[in-house]
Symmetry: C2
Subunit: 612 residues, 2 copies
């Protein structure tokens, strides 16, 4: 039943050898890996204005372009830095790998932790922003923003459980449609004002201000706008998902991506100045621009809103593509539970996908669908991982000193310096707005990963065979003390006893008495069985039957000699309906838990099926 | 650790033989079994006025006495009826026993179901009303009514887990204090008006009405007031809790109880008329009377409120004393899970107590502490079980025709007729207010009980030894096919294999390959072990390792001959911290679940302890 639903929702199972077919080329790789970066422009301009407008009013629009230029410069520095990473790490150069390879395990784990947080935030932020685009077009849905976002996360989860290639097709086309409709909007918008000389109608009134742009304000706006750059790293993380030549394809995608981000982010920033879009209203900045360019109920307005909503939700898909991959790498290194490294029936890392679904949905539920609350948490982690990977690359070049290492070191060094500065700016500016949460979560995650790793190491040490293999097999017989607990003599006891008789000679049938009458009957019945087993009876005035058995076993266990083991043979009822479970004492479950802690006590369960 | 907390909260464990000491005499039996009945007057008068006042205004107070008299008559009919039940059922004559003995199993179960519902409602209603008494005195607590009620239920639960006698002492004194303070209030109240000629100050204004008391209105008010009679049956249910002579003690308690209810209910009804207390306000009717009799901030006002609050919450204790007893009787008959029939460490039926705690708390949470919502659900079940037990007694006498059976049959017949009529009145009047919920729940509970009984019967049929016991022991050896699953050859596998070698000769080491490299290594290592076991390797292109093993075992299982079994020997990791569980594949748990469904597959778990 479960199987059927599963294959209906996520498709038939795929063989391990079908893995190669699930990778993507430039055409599909661009939308799937870049939707995060491209979509962040949908809220980056708004976040910048949200800092500037309340402070300096109309003058904000003059300063907008300066900030957009600063961010664009940062964008291209990052592109050059990341191209070098793609060259050096053909199997995927996530910050975790680059940082732990070149700086050390701890910086690597810090990068991994910030990436984990950011992927979860990406999903939450993008789907909330997507929901905001929907509610801008259809205001009656405003109270259900969080619900819409969670539903969308659910849909993306299903898409990803189906596997990577299917998702690329499913998600690629809308990304292109978004790019297209935004470019149409930018061209039309500029054309209307500059060529047709149309004067924009202001949707909201705004008072002028005499205040000027201070450096502090500039940094604040800059740190808010940096969210536009989140998602750039996705391409270098995702190299293993590309078709061959994977590195070349990845670099092409990276450059294309940067150009698209530049055009769209620049265009929207320019349009928002031109049309004086006011941030922080029920209607998003992009929606305000679209209304002015195309008209309130025009088809193109809805097209912009719809594709914005879709690409924002698809941006979440980048995280669904990359976080499970990161987790599987961490799992192979033993830093997260091992189950995260296994591929599901459709070859995607299904455990990681489900985990991301749960974390992101919880987050959206907690902030009740508000993008702004999440954005303050967002960029600091992204830039921390940027810095660590750039600095890692810088150290790599200065260590190896091969080829034109000076030139390469300069690029990555510049990247590291700029991103580190940005990271500090964001951390300071946003600290009280929520960045502190991230700065607490990162060390917590790192500690957890270190402890998990420690556990796995211990397990391996315990299991690894360190002496001559041959000597480990005990060729003399093991002496077995067999104990068969009994409450009443019935068919399941007889079946259990029959099995016990085949595995040893020294058999004890152990009974705990809480009722004299019952015990008397048991003794009589046992006598008629005429079998070579001792009946041992203990009284339990406090009715603690299980404890008596456990302490009896414990006592015997302490007196065991070498090559001696205790074997407990117990019946287990097999019932057909799950709710029947509550109708039986869960004695065997309790016993397993208590007795299994003893090193040399083996438990044998003999099934007894209840026919109904 | 858990043990320590447990014994701190509920006291040291008690031996089964200490059971006799836990019973109570008339002095302690009266408060513990009657608090439900006595306390219901705290809301019964208010419920009557709540029907009358909105309909006929000031005239309500004239009609109040008529209704109080009708209810009092019903009270004494019930007392006579129940005295006969106590005589006939020395081991406790709950409606379930009386109805199933004399009418049939199904009516018995209907009575049991209505009692179950009513006990849960008793707890919920009483604690909510108790919370209302508290919030009447301390209005700032009004928003936390539900929380107060749930906390109180928790305290009562703890008291009951300590055992019956302790509870009697703990709960007896406040009951007497309540009776005392209410009688003082009644006497003072009447004295002030009739002797001192004080004119009561009206706390709330009320318009007069020209409407008269219609029959419909009378019935409505009567059905609301009948909640005063709930709890009467507790005495006959609780006979086994009395010291010897149990029946005589129980009858004495029953009569005393009826007299107290009569005095208090009559007195409060009379006072509410005298002082025109208005129902349905933030301040309860009793509180209004107490304010007028003793003054707003007088000590006696707070004494009345405090003892009311305490007795109301203690009324819940009646249910905690009786429902677990009823459940234990039902459990012995196989109608509810068997665990409900075992006594806990303190000799109380702890599972039933905990169950009642959960159900009542949930109910209080759902209605957010409102008494009125619950009261509409309340009386219909009580009167249904009254009717069934009275009718059961009536049939008993007409069947046996012993002694002065006609006289006895008349009393119980009258009881049955009157309670049946009342039940119908309540059912009709309250149907749309919530009685329908009860009328749905009763058949659901009865169905559940019948299904549970069916399951237990099937289990017994499956287990009972029906042929000669001696012939059941298989004296020829059982042939065992031993399978040892392996993923990698490590210490825990070696330990498991060592054990497997001692129990059979035909041993298969079974490996599912998902990785060619790993499998190659395994084959080489296995060869060096040089043991008499076949290595069987299967490929799993879909990575479904567990399924492969299960289907392999299933195939073998189908080909088994008589006296052949399959034995699977598996290692089980024992780890020290609970959270380490998530770090390991729960393969063995999955396998147990799938494989245990096969009749002749025995599972052996060999513990392997991971040292950390």
């Amino acid at each position: 039943m479960f199987k059927k639903i599963q294959s209906l929702l996520i498709g038939r199972a795929l063989k391990t050898t079908e893995l190669a077919g699930e990778k993507f080329n430039v055409l599909w790789g661009l939308p799937i890996l870049s939707s995060d970066a491209i979509s962040s422009v949908a809220y980056a301009s708004e976040e910048i204005l949200l800092v500037l407008v309340p402070a300096i009013g109309m003058r904000a629009y003059g300063s907008m372009i300066e900030i957009a230029i600063a961010i664009s410069v940062l964008l291209f520095i990052l592109v050059f830095s990341y191209k070098q990473i793609i060259d050096s790490y053909p199997h995927g150069g996530g910050s975790y790998i680059v940082a732990s390879d070149n700086i050390g395990k701890l910086p690597g784990l810090v990068a991994a932790a910030s990436l984990m947080i950011d992927y979860v935030l990406t999903v939450a932020v993008s789907t909330c922003a997507g929901a905001a685009a929907i509610t801008s077009a259809i205001p009656v849905l405003l109270p259900h923003k969080a619900l819409i976002a969670i539903l969308v996360i659910g849909l993306i989860t299903l898409g990803n459980l189906r596997g990577t290639k299917d998702s690329a097709k499913l998600f690629g086309i809308p990304t292109y449609l978004f790019i297209l409709s935004i470019i149409i909007m930018i061209v039309t918008g500029i054309f209307k004002v500059l060529v047709l000389k149309v004067t924009p109608v202001e949707l909201y009134q705004l008072n002028d201000s005499t205040q000027d742009l201070t450096i502090l304000l500039f940094l604040k706006a800059f740190s808010s706008g940096c969210t536009a750059l989140t998602g750039i790293e996705a391409v270098s993380d995702g190299i293993p998902n590309f078709k061959n030549p994977a590195q070349k394809n990845a670099k092409t995608v990276l450059v294309l991506l940067a150009c698209i981000v530049f055009v769209i982010f620049g265009g929207i920033s320019y349009l928002s100045t031109m049309y004086t879009a006011i941030p922080g209203k029920d209607i998003t900045v992009i929606a305000q621009i679209a209304i002015q360019v195309f008209g309130q109920n025009s088809l193109m307005f809805f097209a912009v809103q719809a594709t914005t909503a879709i690409i924002l939700t698809l941006a979440a898909n980048t995280a669904f593509s990359d976080l499970p991959l990161l987790l599987s790498i961490l799992a192979k290194d033993g830093y997260v539970p091992r189950q995260l490294s296994t591929r599901g029936t459709r070859l995607s890392f299904s455990n990681g996908i489900v985990l991301l679904f749960l974390a992101a949905s919880l987050l959206v539920y907690m902030v009740n669908g508000s993008t702004h609350l999440l954005l303050s948490l967002y960029a600091v982690g992204v830039f921390l991982s940027f810095t660590l990977s750039q600095f890692g690359m810088f150290k790599k070049w200065t260590k190896s000193k091969e080829g034109n290492w000076k030139h390469k070191a300069f690029i990555n060094g510049l990247g590291a310096t700029v991103t580190a500065a940005t990271c500090i700016i964001i951390g300071v500016e946003k600290f009280t707005h929520g960045a502190w949460i991230v700065l607490i979560c990162i060390p917590l995650l790192v500690t957890a990963m270190l402890r998990i790793r420690k556990h796995y190491t211990k397990v391996r040490e315990n299991l690894v065979i360190d002496v001559e293999v041959e000597g480990l097999i005990v060729r003399e017989a093991i002496t077995k003390h067999v104990i068969v607990p009994v409450q009443t003599i019935n068919k399941s006891f007889i079946k259990t006893l029959n099995y016990a008789l085949t595995i040893g000679d020294n058999i004890e049938v152990y009974h705990v008495s809480t009722d004299e009458e019952q015990t008397k009957k048991l003794i009589e019945k046992f006598a008629t069985l005429k079998i070579a087993a001792h009946l041992i009876i203990e009284n339990a005035p406090y009715r603690n039957v299980n404890e008596k058995l456990v302490s009896y076993v414990d006592e015997k266990h302490k007196q065991l000699k070498t090559h001696e083991v205790i074997t407990i043979v117990m019946p287990q009822f097999i019932i057909h309906k799950w709710w029947h479970q509550v109708l039986h004492n869960q004695t065997s479950v309790f016993l397993r838990r208590s007795i299994l802690k003893m090193r040399n006590v083996i438990i044998i369960t003999v099934p007894y099926i209840i026919n109904e």
